[in-house]
Symmetry: C2
Subunit: 403 residues, 2 copies
C-alpha cells in the first residue's frame, strides 16, 4: 500500500437527495480536517457537472455551527446532478483533478455514483495518477448491494411510517378506501416501511403492493374489496413501480391507455397520476363512495426537521470512514454490517470494492414478503424497525368498549 499523498480532496453529492446525505457530507468534512495529508477539501456544486466546471467551495472554511445545521438539513447541500458520465466526461473530471492536485475523491450517492467512482478510479490508475476514489452510500430505496442497509432509507422509512400512521387514523375517523403511493421504482423496501407504525391488529396499511410482486388489477381490487367488507375501510400502500403480471408497470399502462387528444394539456405523467388512476378504478369497479388517493412525492426524501437519529448517525459514520479508508486504501465503497438486532442493534463499517456496488441493485428479499404477495413478514419489521430510530405511539379510542 502506498502512503497517502499530501494533496487536495473533493467531495460531492449525486442522484436523488435524502434526509441524511448531508450528515455523510459533514462526516467527510470533519474527518478530513483531522488528516494533514488532505490540504484543502473542496465541495463540488452539482456533482460531476460542478467538477468539470470547477464550481468549487472551500469546505474547510465552514464553521462547526453551520456544519451541524447542514447535517440536520434535508436534501443535498452541495446540490446534485442526474448526469451519468461516460468515458469522455470522466476524462474531463480527471483533468480537473490533475490540474487542481485533487487526489482524494469522495462521492456520496447510489449505485450510479459508485460506478462513476469506479470508472474515474480505473482511468486514474491507467494514467498513473495517484487518486483515492471512495463511494459513500446513500439512497432512500435501500437497494445497494453488500451493505446491510443504506443511509437515507431509515429517515425515508420513518417519514413513510409516520405518514401512514396518521393517514390510517384519519381513515378510521372518516372511513373509506385510501390509496397511498410510495417511492421506489424497482425495490419495495420503502413501500414495505409503510407497515412499521402498525400498533393495533386492525391498523393499516391493510394491503401493500411491491414492485417485487406483480399483480393483476382484478386481484388488487378483490383484495381491497375483501378488507373493505370486513373492516368497513381499507388503507393501501402501493409502490410507484407496481407492475401487472405481464411485467409492464401500471404507470406505463396508464400512459398507453391515455387516448385524450382534444387539448393535449392534461397528461398522465405527473406524480399524482398512478394513485388517482387506482382510486378511479376502485370507485368504478367496487362502487365505494369515499375513495381517496395521495402520492407522498418528494416529501419522502426531503422534509425539514424529520430524521431518524440512527440513520443520521450512521450516515455521518459512513462519511468519516470513507476518509479514514482513503488514508490506507486506494479506493472502495463504505458498507455496513449489522452486529445485533432489537435492543442490541448496531453496525460495524467496512470497505468493499467499488465494482461490488457499481451499477447493481437489490430487491426486497423473498423472506420479507408474505405468501399472498400483498404484505410483509415479521422478518422485515425486525430488519427495518431499528433503522427508523423508533416511531411515535398513537391512540385511537373508537374501538374501546361501548357503554
Amino acid at each position: 500500500m502506498s502512503s497517502a499523498p499530501k494533496a487536495n480532496a473533493i467531495v460531492s453529492q449525486s442522484g436523488g437527495p435524502t434526509g441524511v446525505i448531508n450528515s455523510s457530507l459533514v462526516g467527510v468534512i470533519e474527518e478530513a480536517k483531522k488528516h494533514p495529508e488532505i490540504k484543502n477539501l473542496y465541495g463540488a456544486i452539482h456533482a460531476v457537472s460542478g467538477i468539470v466546471k470547477e464550481d468549487f467551495i472551500d469546505l474547510g472554511k465552514i464553521s462547526q455551527d453551520v456544519l451541524e445545521t447542514v447535517a440536520a438539513s434535508p436534501s443535498s447541500a452541495l446540490g446534485s446532478s442526474r448526469d451519468k458520465p461516460d468515458a469522455e466526461y470522466c476524462k474531463k473530471v480527471l483533468d480537473v483533478f490533475k490540474k487542481r492536485d485533487i487526489r482524494y475523491f469522495f462521492y456520496i450517492g447510489g449505485n450510479d455514483s459508485a460506478n462513476t467512482c469506479f470508472i474515474i478510479n480505473n482511468m486514474a490508475q491507467e494514467t498513473g495518477f495517484d487518486l483515492r476514489a471512495f463511494h459513500v452510500p446513500k439512497t432512500i430505496d435501500n437497494d445497494l448491494l453488500v451493505t446491510d442497509h443504506c443511509p437515507g432509507f431509515g429517515t425515508a422509512a420513518k417519514f413513510v411510517a409516520c405518514a401512514i400512521m396518521g393517514d390510517d387514523l384519519d381513515n378510521r375517523a372518516l372511513p373509506g378506501i385510501k390509496i397511498d403511493c410510495v417511492m421506489g421504482r424497482h425495490a419495495g423496501f420503502l413501500t414495505a416501511a409503510a407497515t412499521l407504525g402498525k400498533q393495533r391488529d386492525d391498523d393499516g396499511p391493510h394491503l401493500i403492493y411491491l414492485p417485487e410482486r406483480p399483480v393483476t388489477m382484478d386481484k388488487f381490487l378483490s383484495d381491497i374489496d375483501a378488507v373493505y367488507k370486513k373492516l368497513g375501510r381499507c388503507v393501501v400502500a402501493v409502490s410507484e413501480g407496481m407492475s401487472d403480471t405481464d411485467h409492464k408497470t401500471w404507470a406505463e399502462k396508464i400512459t398507453e391507455t391515455d387516448e385524450r387528444d382534444s387539448h393535449g394539456n392534461v397528461q398522465l405523467s405527473g406524480t399524482g397520476a398512478l394513485a388517482d388512476y387506482l382510486a378511479a378504478q376502485i370507485k368504478g369497479k367496487l362502487k365505494v363512495k369515499r375513495v381517496r388517493a395521495d402520492t407522498f412525492g418528494y416529501l419522502q426524501r426531503s422534509f425539514a426537521g424529520l430524521q431518524s437519529e440512527v440513520d443520521a448517525k450512521e450516515a455521518r459514520w459512513c462519511g468519516r470512514h470513507a476518509v479514514q479508508y482513503a488514508m490506507d486504501e486506494l479506493n472502495g465503497s463504505v458498507a455496513m454490517k449489522r452486529t445485533g438486532s432489537g435492543k442490541n442493534y448496531g453496525v460495524e463499517l467496512f470497505r468493499t470494492e467499488l465494482k461490488n456496488v457499481a451499477e447493481k441493485t437489490k430487491s426486497l428479499p423473498d423472506e420479507f414478503i408474505n405468501k399472498e404477495g400483498n404484505g410483509v413478514t415479521d422478518a422485515f419489521i425486525k430488519y427495518a424497525m431499528p433503522l427508523t430510530g423508533g416511531l411515535p405511539k398513537t391512540e385511537y379510542l373508537g374501538n374501546k368498549p361501548k357503554i
Copy 2:
C-alpha cells in the same frame, strides 16, 4: 345564571381531523374530571352519527398515560363524521341527551359543528331542557370568525412549512419548476404558511397562489417564467381552491375540459389532478423540461409525530375552557385573543356566542397578501410564525463563495 346541573356530559369530534383535535379532547376530559357536576363523560364515536346511535365510550375510564398518547396522536380519536344534521336529526340527538340525562355537550369542530351546537342548543331551550352546549374550535383552514386563530392551523402550518423547506432544498439540488398543492378550499391561510420557513433571499416558495386572489392561467405562467429565467428554478405553492378571474376554480375547469371518454377510468377528480394539470401546462407552454408536482394531501392534517407545541397547548386549553365555561354559562364557543407578539406571543381565552361562529368563515385578510397577489406580506409572517412553535433551521452550501 342558573347553577350547573349534576348530569352526564358528552364530547365528540366533527369534520376533518387535525393534528391537535385530540389535545382539545384531552383538555375536555381532564377538566371534566375536576367538576363534580359532571357525573359521567361519554365520548360519542363518529360525532352526531354516533350520538343518535348511542355509540358511546366511558372517557372517565381512560388512564392518564393513554390520554397523553391520545393528545399527541393526529386525527380524531373518537372518529368523525361529515353529517350536517338538519332539524329532524338534531331532534334525535336531543332525544338521546334526554334519555341518557346528558346536559353538557362539548363539540370539537369547525363552523358547521358550531352550527350544530347552535341548533341543538336552541332546540333544547325551546323544549325547556337544561343543556349546556359548547363548541371547541378546530380547523387547519384557520377560517373561523372571532378567534385570532384556530387550533389545528399551527400544526398544519408547521407541516406545510417543513414540507416546502425540504422541497425547496430539493429543488436547489436538482433545479426545475416545482408545484406544491396545499389544502384550503376557500381560505388561503395554510397555503400562505408555505412561506414561513424562508431563510435565504432566494428561498422558495417563490410564488404563492391563494383562493383570495383569482388569477388567469396566462398570468400564472408568466409569473413562473419570470422567476425561472432569473433563478433557474421556481417553487410554487398553490391552494387547491385556486380560481380563475371568472371565479371558477381551476379544479372545476379541469373537470369541464375533461373530454376523455374512451375508457372512463381515468378521472380528474383525484387529489393529484390539479397539481398534475398545472405541471402539464407549464411543460407545454414554458417548454421547461424538469417540472414536478406534489399534492400534500391528508398528510397536512394527520401526520404522526409532528405537532406545533404552541398549537397543542392552546388546543388543550380550549378544551379545558369549554368545560369551565359550561359551569357558569349556558352555551358558547371558545375563542382566543392574542396578548402579545414575537417573543411575547401569548393568548387569552374567552367565550363568544355560538351564532358568531356558526356557519361563517373568514378569508386571508388583504393586509396579509402582497400587491401582486402572488405572495404574502411580513404582517402574515408575524401573525402566523408563533403558531408553528418555531421551525427548523436549514443550510444550503451551493451559494457560498466559489474558489
